[in-house]
């Protein structure tokens, strides 16, 4: 790993996570652990049909169970909150279903009881009578269907670019992003070859190990929400909006998160916990099981039609991308995934003529939102499989094909934004070097065939967006950082402390990082999309610099040239005559950004920074079983200059392992809209046995000039290349192409059999 130590030896040092001791002793402070006096427990009764009108709900038997405090329906909530609909992009999701249900597993009724087992038992006595409606599950079908999931579109006021969708009826398309760069039709007409393929991805789930949990607590001044959330500031704003309260009556506190990966963003259980706590005037805990998480938020299934116009010598001159996102029954952040990932759907290549259409579609499936990559892994799956197929067709080496077309700094990307601080070429070349690509490769023999593949992807960061941080220096010189960035395992508390320590010449280990609490820590948009290191990191750096400047002013005031001439505690004593007072530095960071033109998708500043990740894979296929063994995986990323090299390496490695699951085994299976494998027994996430025999990770020597100490986001980049690198290697090994995820042994075996013209029974 690249390491660059900064002058004060805090940034660039592999600092051990500040919360290490608590995590190895079982004392980490998860919201999961919280018990409040008099706290009530809940169980949610969920829809058993994919689409239906609620005709009647019978709660009488459940209410009679001793220990039950209340059985609450959507209508009960509506009496308390007249417009009980939430969501970050669309206000389309009711706290409990109203009038109709839109997917199997949707929350319809909630039982509140003194004990979780009583709630569970009583929930089974609730009877809901539905009038079933036709349902639509597939994204392509839903886009054309006359079965409508919502009566009309209800975009939130938050995003000005969604305003034109207000009140539109008779559609399932929640957002339709389009981009045109150059003259694609003309370029296609003139191209020597045109290649066209379709790739699909499956619906999967984050499965954070700390299942989602929110506790509502009524207080004398309003409401406190203790919640395992990645976005406490958003929760406060949205709950205040639902209640018609000022923000300062809602307090949102997070603990350490037992994983997030995008599942714990925006509103999940918070609105229900808030409503119940206020309706019952008691602390109420809403906690899900692993199974229930599958009914709450997922990753979009997609269909991607991709078409490229190519010259004889392999230069891509035109590309047409048509991407359909299965958003499920509620939009969540899906429209943003659709738009943001739409920017880069044509891949990290210098293509002069590009057309992109990216559409978010409502269906009767569990909602889809953000999952580690914000749509990018689905896109890279398609464009990096596609380019390999083209290279094969033209007889060009896959690496050479990419080299010929790679997007370099100083060149415009599809949005028209000029590339800067994007080490795409370097990431590709380092991957090739580590793979020893130019050397001959042992392809195996008999029933064990070996192959290798590479893939590279990139991502635009989220914008517009704001982060605010505060640094507080106490009179003894000790220092606390106040930030609403949520540490869910990515070691953000440690990274932010390193930045403060570097600026103020303190020891990272001595910085106290105050966990998100909206009564105390300032606003931050959310912990998502690898934005914290860059956005909050910049805000923290500004806050620390502000504090430093104020300390210097204080020093001059008491007759010193600068603050570092004496211990900090002496400064305060000189000023106040005793250990008293404090110095507070504040930093606000809002990166420059220009929203793309609504018609053309063009913008001269589409992103605060670019993330780049490539993966190389060597594998072996057993042709008798279709089983794929990963022999070696190389992950290379441009992450700017790592703040904490050891943690950065773990992030690269961990994200790639997660993507191995989404590539090889994970899939939510459905029967009439019902998830049939919503448990870790039937939904297979990676274990020790799924690791590649060898795994290498590298952050290339790079700098994000606008980032804090040259750093930028880390958490997603190594997910980009994993899936297509594996599919490309399988084709190299056995000559078959897998175009749908996951790549199960059965899928490989069927493809091999089909290539041999051997007929197999249907699934």
């Amino acid at each position: 790993m690249t390491t660059k130590m900064m002058p004060n030896r805090q940034v660039g040092r592999s600092v051990k996570r500040l919360e290490s001791h608590s995590k190895v002793t079982g004392r980490a402070e998860y919201t999961h652990n919280l018990r409040l006096p008099g706290m009530l427990h809940t169980k949610i009764v969920r829809s058993t049909v994919a689409h239906g009108l609620i005709r009647a709900i019978d709660v009488e038997a459940a209410k009679q169970v001793p220990g039950v405090h209340a059985v609450i329906t959507g209508e009960d909530v509506r009496k308390f909150i007249p417009q009980p609909y939430f969501g970050p992009a669309f206000h389309d999701q009711p706290i409990l279903a109203l009038d109709k249900v839109r997917y199997v597993g949707e929350a319809v009724v909630v039982v509140v009881a003194s004990d979780p087992h009583i709630a569970d038992q009583a929930a089974q006595l609730v009877v809901v009578d539905y009038e079933e409606l036709p349902a639509v599950f597939d994204e392509i079908e839903a886009a054309k269907s006359d079965v409508y999931v919502h009566e009309e579109l209800r975009p939130a006021g938050t995003f000005p670019d969604l305003k034109h969708l207000v009140g539109i009826r008779n559609t399932n398309i929640a957002l339709d992003f389009s981009l045109t760069h150059g003259e694609p039709e003309k370029a296609f007409a003139e191209a020597d070859h045109v290649f066209e393929h379709t790739f699909t991805t499956q619906q999967v789930m984050h499965t954070p190990f700390e299942p989602m949990i929110s506790i509502g607590e009524p207080t004398h001044s309003g409401l406190t929400l203790h919640t395992a959330s990645q976005s406490p500031s958003f929760v406060r704003i949205e709950i205040a909006r639902l209640l018609g309260w000022p923000e300062n009556k809602v307090r949102v506190k997070t603990g350490q998160l037992g994983g997030g990966f995008g599942a714990k963003l925006y509103i999940k259980l918070e609105a229900l916990a808030a409503a119940l706590a206020l309706m019952l005037n008691a602390p109420v805990r809403v906690a899900l099981t692993m199974e229930e998480q599958f009914y709450t938020i997922t990753k979009h299934a997609t269909t991607f039609h991709i078409r490229s116009g190519v010259t004889k010598d392999g230069r891509i001159v035109a590309r047409d991308c048509d991407v359909w996102w299965n958003g499920g029954a509620y939009a969540d952040i899906g429209p943003r995934v659709t738009q943001k990932s739409g920017f880069t759907a044509a891949g990290p290549y210098d293509i002069e003529n590009v057309k992109i259409k990216s559409a978010a579609v409502y269906t009767n499936r569990p909602p889809a939102g953000a999952l580690r990559g914000f749509g990018i892994p689905q896109l890279v799956w398609a464009y990096e499989s596609h380019i390999d197929l083209i290279a094969r067709e033209l007889g060009i080496d896959p690496l050479e094909m990419r080299r010929k077309n790679i997007l370099r700094n100083g060149r415009p990307q599809a949005t028209g934004t000029i590339m800067k601080d994007a080490a795409i070429e370097q990431v590709l070349e380092r991957t090739a070097e580590r793979m020893n690509w130019s050397a001959p490769f042992d392809k195996g023999s008999g029933t064990r065939r070996r192959g290798r593949g590479i893939a590279i992807g990139f991502k635009a960061s989220v914008a517009p967006t704001t982060s605010v941080a505060m640094v507080n220096i106490a009179a003894d010189g000790s220092c606390s950082l106040y930030s609403s960035t949520v540490d869910m395992g990515q070691a953000s508390e440690t990274a932010m402390a390193q930045i403060v320590a570097e600026v103020l010449a303190l020891e990272t280990e001595n910085i106290r990082v105050v966990r998100p609490d909206t009564d105390i820590t300032p606003y931050d948009m959310a912990t998502l999309g690898s934005r914290s290191t860059f956005h909050m990191g910049n805000a923290v750096r500004l806050a620390a610099e502000d504090a430093k400047q104020k300390l210097d002013e204080l020093a001059r005031e008491v007759g010193l040239t600068n603050a570092s001439d004496v211990p900090l505690s002496q400064l305060f004593i000189k000023k106040y005559g005793m250990q008293a007072g404090n110095v507070i530095g504040v930093g606000t960071y809002i990166p420059p950004y220009k929203s793309p033109d609504k018609k053309t998708g063009q913008s001269d500043n589409a992103t605060p920074f670019w993330m780049i990740g490539a993966t190389g894979v060597e594998l072996e296929v057993d042709t008798e079983t279709g089983h794929v063994k990963l022999l070696r995986m190389v992950n290379v990323c441009d992450l700017g200059t790592p703040l904490n090299p050891k943690v950065v390496e773990t992030q690269i490695s961990g994200a790639a392992v997660m993507q191995i699951g989404f590539t090889m085994s994970e899939i939510m299976n459905f029967d009439a809209g019902q998830v049939t494998n919503a448990s870790l027994a039937d939904y297979k996430i990676p274990s020790f046995h799924d690791l590649p025999d060898l795994m290498e990770n590298e952050a290339v020597d790079a700098e994000q000039t606008t980032g804090p100490f040259g750093a930028k986001g880390v958490g997603e980049s190594s997910t980009f290349g994993v899936s297509p690198a594996i599919a490309n290697a399988i084709q190299d090994a056995v000559g078959v192409r897998i175009s749908s995820l996951p790549i199960t042994p059965e899928a490989v075996y069927r493809a091999i059999a089909a290539a041999d013209n051997r007929a197999l029974e249907e699934e």
Binding site: G26, H117, G259, G489, V657
Partner: protein
């Protein structure tokens, strides 16, 4: 109201009593009666290992193991590992190797590592993978966990040699 009964057992070396209901699991017993949250329920099916505790020296899934079964037994949890002398070498090794991210699965991995090293003091990577394959880490920190186990193994050997 459900029937309750009182059980007596040894918890991290100290004798204790607790009132339980028949359906309570060990995780509920530890969390609700003793405010010990190191063993935690995640998958609820005994598959992920987040709820691992030791009963009479054997690792069990605390989310499935009924509290009534520990009557008279000896229960050890992650909270009992560190002594006044400091962290156990396995805990130190997990910190030094950076073998966790979100930390939700860490208690289980550390307790299983303890069992592994009791049975196989110097395990190969393959032995580590197979022994710990009943524990899952959604953050994918597996390579670092292998290093932590190897490091813990050498630390234990070093401390035995010193003693």
């Amino acid at each position: 109201m459900p029937q309750t009964r009182t059980i007596s057992f040894t918890l991290n070396g100290r004798p204790v009593n607790a009132e339980i209901e028949a359906h309570h699991t060990v995780v509920e017993l530890l969390q609700e009666r003793f405010a010990l949250f190191g063993a935690r329920e995640s998958c609820g099916q005994g598959l992920c290992g987040c709820c691992t505790v030791k009963v009479d020296g054997e690792a069990v899934s605390g989310c499935l193991y009924l509290a009534s079964f520990v009557d008279g037994a000896s229960v050890d949890t992650i909270e009992g590992m560190a002594t006044s002398g400091g962290l156990d070498p396995i805990q130190e090794a997990f910190i030094e190797a950076g073998a966790f991210q979100c930390g939700f699965c860490t208690s289980g991995f550390i307790l299983m590592t303890q069992r592994l090293l009791e049975e196989h003091p110097d395990p190969t990577p393959d032995k580590i993978k197979s022994y710990l394959s009943g524990n899952l880490c959604r953050c994918g920190t597996y390579p670092e966990i292998i290093k932590a186990v190897q490091l813990a193994s050498s630390k234990r050997r070093a401390s035995k040699a010193a003693a």
